[in-house]
């Protein structure tokens, strides 16, 4: 197995199912510190992605990821649209024209996607955003590849790191997004974006190898 059209498609389909299962939980997290729409928005966006993937045959991973990214941009509505959309678009761009994708190349592509998120959201570590999950995740992925692990092992390490990063958002005070309007009152709640990011990496670990 490799990172190819079939497995990336399986990844996003699995993520859509996970999001559907966790939509209520995500919305509840968002209700505490945001505008109570993260679960709904992600669910709408990922359902649209699955529908888009079903409709078309893709010649390459990057074409698939770009389609998925544009779909999210148009259907999520909230800030997650441009953020996840940018992630998928940049990841796709980094994988363009590759016949076979190695673990290291996929890691570099993930990092490019995360850099896109940072450029778009202008978040820093500790701002209580999805970046607090993404940053340790891509570091853990690279470390696993460097020590000889395969894509599956690297993604597992990334998902675990993301989960730790997600948990660390709970005591943080939000400095970005709608939650930042709450100031100190945002502390004590887990960040919904970091939560959906962790789910995305867990789905990846379960489907990509």
């Amino acid at each position: 197995m490799a990172v190819d059209v079939a497995s990336v498609s399986a990844w996003l389909t699995a993520y859509a199912e996970t999001i559907a299962d966790h939509a209520a939980e995500l919305t509840q997290l968002d209700a505490a510190i945001g505008d109570a729409d993260h679960g709904t928005n992600m669910n709408r966006g990922m359902a649209a992605v699955v529908a888009a993937l079903d409709k078309e045959e893709f010649a390459s991973v990057d074409a698939l990821l770009k389609k998925a990214g544009m779909t999210l941009v148009s259907t999520i509505g909230g800030a997650s649209g441009p953020l996840y959309g940018t992630f998928l678009l940049r990841t796709g761009t980094a994988l363009a024209d590759m016949a076979e994708i190695s673990g290291a190349q996929f890691g570099a592509a993930l990092r490019a996607g995360v850099e896109g998120i940072v450029a778009r959201g202008k978040a820093e570590l500790g701002d209580k955003t999805m970046y607090d999950a993404w940053a340790p995740a891509v570091d853990a992925y690279d470390a696993a590849i460097d020590s000889g692990g395969d894509v599956t092992a690297a993604l597992q390490a990334a998902a675990e790191a993301a989960a730790r990063g997600r948990d660390e958002t709970t005591p943080m005070v939000a400095r970005k997004g709608r939650a930042s309007y709450l100031g100190e009152r945002s502390a004590g709640h887990q960040d919904p974006g970091a939560t959906s990011t962790t789910l995305l990496l867990e789905s990846a670990a379960a489907t990509l190898s």
Binding site: D37, V73, G77, G85
Partner: protein, 830 residues
């Protein structure tokens, strides 16, 4: 001009913000604004691709400013820039300004043709006025401009004006000032001479706002540059009519929402103006007429009573709001209906019956529905067609109250197409979105109802009284109409649709050409100049008339100009307002018509006995034979005004020579008490609207300077048919050869020294222009928006051809034959 894109999570927020900002400048000066907001009508969200699309839609060489609300709006807009062609993206600026304040400032700045940098700076400064008012910043800091640059030029000229607007130089009047100044090549600065604030540049709405100029303050206006003198004169004129606002502090100001507060029920008030054409095509939007009251759960009598009071208050607020908006967009005449409708809500007869019903256990919905329904029914059975049309007004109020009780929104017309309604009430007409409603077809209700008046003033194409054919139309079916020939087409074939679209395009182009030449004189192709004037009823309409190129006003409707007064206006008040009309006309001549009132159109400050047949009763000049004082005051004001600005005066509903003698005697008596002699330049004339007056025009005009033919009443009296009565409206056709014969008689009998004008609806019909000029009419006075087209029609006239055609029209078998002759003439002239 730059364009603007509004990005928001909420479509209704964006639309309302755009509508609010759109109020600041008149339609033809508004920048193009596109909206990218919400995932759909109701779901909140932003979409980067939609933002990119909106930018592409309005993109132009001058650039696009994007105003945003929060969060993902910013991310989506940034992302949109990446989707765009880099050449386009280069011209786009994302604004960090607060959405509402920034948008208002940006729309105004853009309308003056400012560069994108200047507009962006204006938007950013949009908060200054509010911060200043609330004391957040110091004055010096607020005027964030290089003060030395504003030091008065040695050569600068200046004037001082007073702020007459009741609420001071608030957003709308300030916007008018900024827009006005933007049209001149001059640097203009303003100082609040009363408080010492300023100077600030008059080119900036946000800077003007920092002056905090309130009612009664004096403004020092300085100007330098080539147009300095002109701009000062224009500003003084604008100031003289309260910067276009209401000068008198509003009664019950506490209940009138101010410009920034949100209305209670539905914020949507009229958006945009229509095509101004009389032709339209699109899918039918068939509106449901009845409010659905099922599902209303009644409470105890005391609950119901409370709900009733609450609903009443909201309905009254809504009517106030509709009144304000309609007065500013379509003129005070069109807005009157909402005051009348509000009076129904406080009619003790009705309110006490309703509260008795509620005490007896009836629900508020049932009580209001029944009681107002009964009133509407009473009107509906009256024999007088004018009063019968008022039933629609009552039904409209009933709907408003019921919806308020039920918490239902107003039945906003959704989608794009042609609205088909059983009858058109004023509230619906005022709230139509002219950007999506291409036209309106009514099944019945006549052509003089209030809704018809409002929708016409807004330039939305209208086909009235289309009858059964319209009643049978189903939603979604393509329909088209051409009101100039009274034709409704249901489900036309593709070829026919193409022809109609081409015809719409052709008329639009012809209209655009007409508009571009509106300010030039109207001269027939063989060299005869024809004065094209406008009928006006307010300084705002007069200003519109001037913008539309009118050579003056051929009819100032004083009964509407002062229709908002509950007591008779004093001579001074009349002088002031008439001067304001003259100033708004740019000092061009105006013909003041004395009070034209009667049992069918009463004045609040003139009680009239009820008459069995007011249309044939005490109307116009007849009313004043027994009550001279009101007329004398008016004539005193006219004499005083005529000493200062070009003025004519005319008397309505004259029938006999004796009345002419009497009217002249009144004028001499009034002059004796004001100006001494009748001012030398004051031309005196009469309206010809009674057939007897037309037939003996030669006898009537001795000693007069002009006559003005009121074709509406003259047609109705000649054909003994009321236009508002659908059963006979077809008879009251101004193209009837009998009516034309009367016009020809007047022209030949009054002789060459007495000018003949036409101020009825016929003069607003471009197609009738060759006919009227061919009959020998000298001047035309039409509704302001029609001026460009009427002028264009004059330019197309060859008088020899027109005379021959008119001679044939006089002997034509009927009005349709006359129309055929005109169509033929138009084809030959095209």
């Amino acid at each position: 001009m730059i364009s603007i894109v509004v990005v928001s999570h909420s479509r209704s927020l964006a639309e309302a913000a755009v509508a609010l900002a759109g109020e600041m400048v008149s339609g033809d000066e508004r920048p193009r604004v596109a909206i990218a907001a919400g995932l759909d009508e109701s779901a909140f969200g932003t979409d980067a691709t939609a933002v990119a699309q909106a930018i592409t839609e309005v993109d132009g060489p001058d650039g696009v400013l994007v105003l945003l609300d929060l969060g993902s709006a910013v991310l989506s807009a940034e992302m949109a820039l990446e989707f765009l062609d880099p050449d386009v993206a280069k011209r786009v600026r994302l604004s960090s300004a607060p959405l509402v304040e920034g948008l208002v400032a940006a729309v105004v700045a853009a309308s003056t043709g400012s560069t994108i940098d200047a507009v962006a700076a204006e938007a950013d400064a949009g908060l200054l006025g509010k911060r200043e008012h609330l004391g957040v910043v110091e004055v010096a800091g607020a005027a964030d401009v290089d003060a030395s640059a504003l030091d008065l030029d040695e050569d600068a000229e200046s004037v001082e004006v007073e702020v007459l607007a009741a609420h001071g130089l608030h957003a709308r009047p300030a916007a008018r000032l900024v827009a006005l100044v933007g049209r001149f090549a001059a640097e203009v600065t303003l100082t609040n001479a009363t408080t010492g604030r300023g100077p600030v540049t008059a080119a900036s709405l946000s800077q003007v706002a920092t002056l905090d100029a309130r009612h009664g303050h004096r403004l020092a206006v300085s100007a330098s540059g080539p147009d300095a003198a002109d701009v000062l004169e224009a500003v003084a004129e604008l100031a003289a009519y309260s910067f276009g606002d209401d000068a008198s502090p509003r009664a019950g100001a506490a209940t009138v929402p101010d410009d920034t507060s949100a209305p209670d029920i539905v914020p949507a008030v009229e958006r945009g103006s229509g095509s101004g054409l009389d032709i339209a095509i699109g899918p039918a939007l068939v509106a449901a007429a009845e409010v659905d009251t099922r599902g209303y759960v009644a409470g105890s009598p005391s609950d119901e009573s409370e709900r009733s009071g609450e609903a009443l208050r909201r309905a009254a607020d809504r009517l106030d709001e509709l009144h304000r908006h309609t007065a500013s967009s379509a003129g005070p005449g069109a807005a009157e209906i909402f005051s009348a409708q509000k009076a129904l809500l406080t009619d003790p007869e009705i309110t006490s019956a309703v509260s008795n019903d509620i005490d007896a256990g009836t629900s508020a919905v049932e009580a209001w529905g029944e009681r107002l329904g009964a009133v509407a029914q009473q009107y509906g059975t009256l024999s007088d067609p004018y009063l019968r049309e008022r039933a629609a007004d009552v039904r409209s109020v009933r709907g408003l109250v019921l919806r308020s009780l039920l918490g239902q929104p107003e039945p906003l017309v959704a989608g794009e197409g042609i609205l088909v309604v059983p009858e058109l009430d004023a509230a619906t007409a005022a709230t139509l979105d002219a950007l999506t409603v291409h036209g309106v077809v009514t099944v019945r209700g006549g052509s003089t109802g209030h809704g018809v008046l409002v929708v016409r003033s807004r330039g939305i194409p209208l086909l009235a009284d289309a009858g059964d054919a319209a009643a049978a139309v189903e939603s979604g079916v393509t329909i088209a109409f051409d009101a100039s020939v009274g034709r409704l087409l249901v489900d036309p074939g593709e070829g026919e649709q193409d022809r109609l679209r081409q015809e719409i395009e052709r008329r639009r182009e012809a209209r655009d050409v007409a508009v571009s030449q509106a300010q030039s004189p109207a001269v027939t192709s063989d060299g005869r100049p024809v004065a094209v004037l406008a009928n006006v009823a307010s300084p705002e309409e007069a200003a519109e008339a001037r913008r539309c190129g009118a050579d003056g006003s051929g009819l100032v409707r004083t009964e509407i100009l002062f229709g908002d007064h509950t007591t008779a206006p004093t001579v001074d008040e009349q002088v002031e307002r008439l001067l304001a009309v003259s100033a708004a006309l740019g000092g061009r001549p105006m013909t003041v018509r004395t009070w034209d009132v009667g049992g069918d159109k009463p004045l609040p400050f003139l009680s009239m006995p009820s008459e069995a047949n007011p249309f044939l009763g005490e109307r116009g000049i007849r009313v004043f034979r027994s009550r001279q004082e009101l007329l004398l005051d008016q004539l005193r004001a006219v004499c005083l005004v005529a000493k200062r600005v070009p003025t004519k005066v005319m008397f309505p509903m004259v029938t006999t020579r004796d009345e002419v003698e009497w009217a002249r005697a009144m004028l001499i008596e009034a002059a004796a008490a004001s100006t001494g002699d009748v001012p030398a330049g004051l031309d005196v004339g009469i309206m010809v609207e009674v057939p007897a007056a037309a037939l003996r025009a030669a006898t009537l005009v001795a000693g007069l300077d002009f006559v003005s033919i009121g074709t509406n009443d003259l047609t109705q009296y000649t054909t003994a048919a009321e236009r508002g009565n659908a059963a006979v409206a077809g008879l009251a056709d101004p193209f009837d050869p009998a009516l034309l014969a009367l016009v020809a008689t007047v022209v030949s009998d009054v002789g060459p020294d007495v000018a003949v004008a036409v101020c009825g609806d016929l003069a607003s019909s471009p197609v009738a222009v060759p006919l009227l000029l061919g009959l020998g009419v000298d001047e035309l006075s039409c509704t302001p928006p029609r001026v460009p087209e009427v002028k264009a029609a004059v330019r197309g006239v060859d008088l020899d051809v027109a005379r021959a055609m008119s001679a044939e029209a006089l002997t034509a078998s009927g009005p349709n034959r006359v129309r055929a002759l005109l169509a033929d003439c138009a084809l030959r002239c095209r």
